[in-house]
């Protein structure tokens, strides 16, 4: 928080602040006139300067409230600090009233300052009450500021988390896939140049798409699937006849929005922990279906139950799980099951149609 009082820190707050002098002046006029010590006119001329001084004097309570917060600090220290500050501020206030009374001598007579002095205890008590009121208002102000600050902070964290997540996701996707693909290209350049070129093109397509999609907040399922297919084309050149893809993509399902690169880790898993573990390879099945207001996505692949677990197993799954939870909370469902020699991942989330 800045050193400047938050009310003075922004334009357009000065007049509303000055206008708070009106009720204070009215209160003081009533108070001074009621005692019978002053006539109404006398009380009013005294009350207005006192009210304007009060407005600015009691703003300084903010600094005291910052220095001795009502919450979290030590109680004794807080009470003593505020008692001293209240006594000081009220003294200054009452003294300023005495000054005003002296200035008003030509108007109300030479005894006016003495008559004012008789009212000092009442004014001092009023000052203490104004201090407490000001303290309460400032406490509310500080709490609101703290809440806003916390919200800003939370938002910043969210943005940072998203960036970190995408970075992690990209780092997780690319390296080994890239190295293996480059190795295949290196091999094909010698034996089958047209296929080497084809592989370069598929690889570029996949990279371009994954980089572009990662920047967006949501993408339609059809784009996510197109990315997955570019990826599977590259893998297809590596694995040859071992890799087959089967898809059942319903139109309604394809139009739904999902976080970008949500399926990518799952498709990669299906290849690396599924197809690649089997001599005969197999079929990766992709399904996206909208039923009512739910989007259901299924990825199924065969795997070798006897194969040793490969590194990185579970990283992709937990990544997808946490991204779903971050986006949809408890409204999303994620299930990964092993059924004999088949691996099944099912995602279910609220269907959000693209505009």
């Amino acid at each position: 928080m800045s050193a400047l009082h938050p009310i003075l820190a922004r334009k357009g707050r000065f007049l509303p602040l000055l206008s708070t002098a009106i009720p204070i002046a009215a209160l003081l006029t009533g108070l001074l006139a009621r005692q019978g010590a002053f006539r109404f006119g006398e009380a009013a001329t005294l009350a207005w300067p006192l009210a304007f001084v009060a407005v600015f004097l009691f703003l300084s309570v903010w600094y005291v409230a910052m220095a001795a917060p009502l919450r979290g600090g030590r109680i004794l220290r807080t009470v003593v600090t505020h008692a001293v500050a209240a006594a000081l501020i009220c003294s200054v206030w009452v003294l300023s009233g005495a000054g005003a009374a002296r200035l008003l001598v030509p108007l109300w007579g030479a005894t006016f300052p003495q008559r004012y002095a008789a009212q000092v205890p009442v004014l001092f008590t009023t000052g203490i009450l104004l201090y407490l009121l000001s303290l309460a208002l400032h406490a509310v102000l500080l709490a609101v500021e703290a809440t806003r600050e916390a919200e800003r902070h939370a938002l910043q964290l969210q943005v940072l988390a998203r960036e970190a997540e995408l970075k992690a996701l990209r780092a997780q996707i690319h390296p080994h896939f890239l190295f293996n693909s480059l190795n295949s290209i290196s091999a094909l350049v010698g034996t089958d140049p047209p296929r080497a070129r084809e592989m370069c093109l598929y690889l570029s397509e996949f990279l371009r798409k994954s980089l572009a999609l990662g920047e967006r907040k949501s993408i339609p399922v059809r784009e996510e699937v197109a990315l997955a297919k570019a990826y599977l084309e590259v893998e297809g050149l590596r694995f040859g006849s071992r890799l087959t893809v089967e898809e059942a993509l319903e139109t309604g399902g394809q139009d739904c929005l999902v976080p970008p690169l949500l399926l990518q880790p799952l498709v990669e898993n299906a290849v690396r922990h599924g197809i690649a573990t089997r001599v005969e390879g197999g079929v990766i099945r992709l399904e996206a279906r909208r039923s009512g207001n739910r989007l259901r996505i299924l990825i199924e692949n065969p795997f070798d139950p006897d194969a040793p677990a490969r590194r990185g197993a579970g990283v992709g799954l937990s990544n997808v799980r946490s991204r779903l939870a971050a986006r949809y909370g408890s409204d999303a469902l994620f299930a990964a099951r092993k059924l004999a020699d088949r691996y099944l991942v099912v995602l279910s989330m609220p269907a959000q149609a693209a505009d």
Binding site: F179, S184, T191, G240, R272, A276, R310, R311
Partner: protein, 138 residues
């Protein structure tokens, strides 16, 4: 290559393009005879026993048995060169006394170095196939 000590090589990788680049680069080398190619760990163990290669160029992630399991199951005197896209297995490869650890993709020279190391290792272990030449240490 002037070092023409004959060496019997077995290539093991589940991806056809990966096998073909190994075949292409290794067959350019003097004295190399490629005795077999395998597409999974199980075949590799069988081939290693039947064909008695001097060196196996071995992928790590494969169906049936992975590269490390193959290393355990074959004759320990066979020199093993791991060929993989994963640098994270390097330490483990060192622990199982692999002759070398080549990262995909690779240059022909890098593969040649690995082959030379394997030749040297075999020279130190067993003399019957390369009489009269002292082995160079790895």
């Amino acid at each position: 290559m002037t070092d023409a000590v004959p060496v019997r090589v077995l290539i093991v990788d589940d991806e056809a393009p990966a096998r073909s680049i190994l075949r292409e680069m290794l067959s350019d080398r003097d004295g190399v005879s490629i005795v077999g190619e395998c597409a999974n760990g199980f075949e590799a163990v069988k081939a290693a026993a039947e064909l008695a290669p001097d060196v196996v160029f071995l992928d790590v992630e494969m169906p049936k048995l992975d590269g490390f399991e193959v290393r355990e199951l074959i004759d320990p005197s066979i020199a093993v060169v791991f060929v993989t896209a994963y640098d994270s297995y390097a330490l483990r490869a060192f622990e199982v006394h692999a002759v070398d650890y080549v990262l995909k993709p690779f240059r022909a020279e890098r593969l040649g170095d690995a082959l030379d190391r394997a030749r040297a290792r075999r020279g130190g272990c067993r003399g019957r196939w390369r009489p009269g030449r002292p082995g160079r240490g790895p």
